[in-house]
């Protein structure tokens, strides 16, 4: 399995749960005319980082900070109950052709990295958000020792934490994940996705709503 270097001596795997990836794509799909972002939730497993879930945040005025602060506090509270941490940020830009993380996205990700040193940033590749995806639509960034966000070659294997063997992962084929994205889109699952902007409009809608994907 691909090992990714983050820093000079650390060698780490970045495992992505299919649910986390699919929800990210659904958030971007739901708001095709907007930039969207969200928090990555996960944990370290035997020295490797697992992204287990995401919390969709905003589709309006991503750069404004007060609601981000509150959402971050709430996510941390939610994480405690689930044995998780806030491990990063995902970001999708408004312009279809903009595939680099915006300065604001990097700022927010750096804030998260200040509390969790292995934090990562997912940049969504807009042109790969299609009805019949054949490629993974995110790019992984890690924090280089010189304190800037550095792109990695791969996003890392898909998988979940194996409950039966707590120190290892159960991996999923990339092909299967892409199929699940296609299914989720065709079944309008994105309409059930709730982000923080939605929660602020209607308190009853929770950003922690689970979606079957």
């Amino acid at each position: 399995l691909p090992k990714i270097t983050a820093g000079t001596a650390i060698v780490m795997e970045f495992v992505v749960s299919p649910v986390a990836y699919i929800k990210t794509i659904l958030h971007a799909w739901k708001y095709p005319a907007c930039a969207v972002n969200g928090l990555l939730l996960g944990k370290m497993v035997k020295g490797n980082l697992l992204v287990e879930d995401v919390v969709p945040l905003f589709h309006t005025h991503l750069n404004l900070t007060p609601m981000f602060d509150v959402a971050l506090f709430q996510a941390e509270g939610h994480c405690k109950a689930k044995g998780l941490q806030v491990v990063g940020l995902y970001n999708a830009n408004e312009l279809n052709t903009e595939n680099s993380p915006s300065p604001a996205a990097m700022k927010l990700a750096s804030r998260i990295q200040a509390d969790f040193s292995n934090a990562i940033l997912w940049q969504v590749l807009n042109t790969r958000i299609v009805e019949h995806p054949d490629k993974i639509a995110i790019r992984l960034y890690t924090m280089a020792p010189a304190k800037h966000w550095e792109v990695q070659d791969q996003v890392g294997p898909f998988g979940t934490h194996d409950a039966d063997a707590p120190k290892s992962f159960r991996y999923t084929e990339e092909k299967e994940v892409l199929e699940r994205v296609e299914n989720a889109i065709s079944m309008y699952k994105y309409k059930k996705l709730v982000d923080w902007d939605d929660h602020c409009e209607n308190c009853a809608l929770s950003v922690f709503t689970e979606i079957e994907v």
């Binding site: 005025h61 900070t65 609601m67 602060d69 709430q74 509270g77 312009l95 602020c200 308190c203 009853a204």
Partner: protein, 289 residues
């Protein structure tokens, strides 16, 4: 609105839906300014192709809406058919038709082509606000935000009451992290539409983002104003708590305000999302960072 949108989606998708329900879809999406292009397309298309007679005077407006919804959904077949119909009805020299032709080119990312049409239209009618704004959109789509901002500023010198334009400009400034310039836009918006809580709210969030004691105190006031205009507004309640924690609570009035913020938040979550209450209480009791 969430429930209504659900109903609208259900209506639009059902094959046997009546003409009345399809018209309801179009009316509701128009009156609530919803960009629900998928249902506008399916209901609108149904009406113009099979029940054109029922549309009366709004027949051609509906064609236009179907065209724009089709472009939004990438349904070029429907878009081209609708455009051809409009050309036949209104002629090739119609300003409105030419603007729609420009939009058709925009949808294919032929920005140079679209700009050419718009510049041509504006030469003949420099006061065509809608076409002028499309020029701004094209510049923004090209990624040339500086040019888009400049053009929009020129537009606003002429059409200073256009709040949609001020919002767009604020949006662009925020994206460029030019928060002080975005501030100015929201000040204009608040002057234009003082009862609109959204503008006070965003202005407060902007001030908070810029930071500094003075801005935080001002933000607190605007969050409070937004709360007064929209009771129970979650963003405003959180904003009040955040500002007071950041500046420190000075005096009984501020203590009361903080108490109002905290108690109303707890009230809301108790009523609508009791499972989140423990987390929210944690957030409210947290020390400010």
């Amino acid at each position: 609105t969430m429930t209504t949108l659900k109903e609208l989606v259900a209506t639009s998708a059902t094959a046997g839906s009546s003409v009345r329900r399809h018209r309801e879809v179009l009316e509701k999406t128009a009156s609530e300014c919803l960009r629900a292009s998928d249902i506008v397309l399916s209901s609108g298309k149904k009406l113009v192709t099979e029940h054109a007679g029922s549309l009366g005077r709004s027949l051609w407006d509906t064609h236009e809406r179907v065209l724009m919804a089709a472009l939004d959904c990438g349904d070029f077949e429907t878009a081209d058919k609708t455009l051809a119909t409009l050309r036949r009805k209104f002629g090739l020299t119609s300003q409105r038709v030419r603007r729609l032709e420009g939009m058709r080119l925009e949808a294919e990312c032929d920005y140079a082509g679209a700009l050419k049409i718009y510049k041509n239209v504006l030469e003949q009618d420099p006061a065509d606000a809608l076409t002028w704004k499309r020029t701004v959109v094209v510049l923004r789509d090209c990624g040339d935000s500086k040019a888009a901002i400049e053009e929009l500023n020129d537009y606003l010198k002429v059409f200073a009451q256009d709040h949609e334009a001020w919002l767009e400009l604020a949006d662009m400034y925020i994206e460029e992290q030019e928060y002080n310039l975005a501030k100015f836009c929201f000040e204009e918006l608040i002057m234009l539409q003082a009862p609109n809580y959204q503008f006070h709210l965003r202005y407060a969030e902007l001030l908070f983002t810029i930071g500094g004691t003075q801005n935080l105190e001002l933000a607190r006031n605007y969050f409070a104003q937004a709360l007064e205009l929209k009771p129970g507004c979650l963003r405003a309640l959180y904003g009040i708590v955040l500002c007071l924690r950041a500046t420190g609570v000075k005096g009984t009035l501020q203590q009361k305000l903080l108490a109002v913020g905290q108690s109303q938040l707890i009230e809301q979550y108790t009523k609508y999302a009791p499972n989140l209450l423990p987390i929210v209480k944690d957030v409210l009791n947290k020390d400010s960072k």
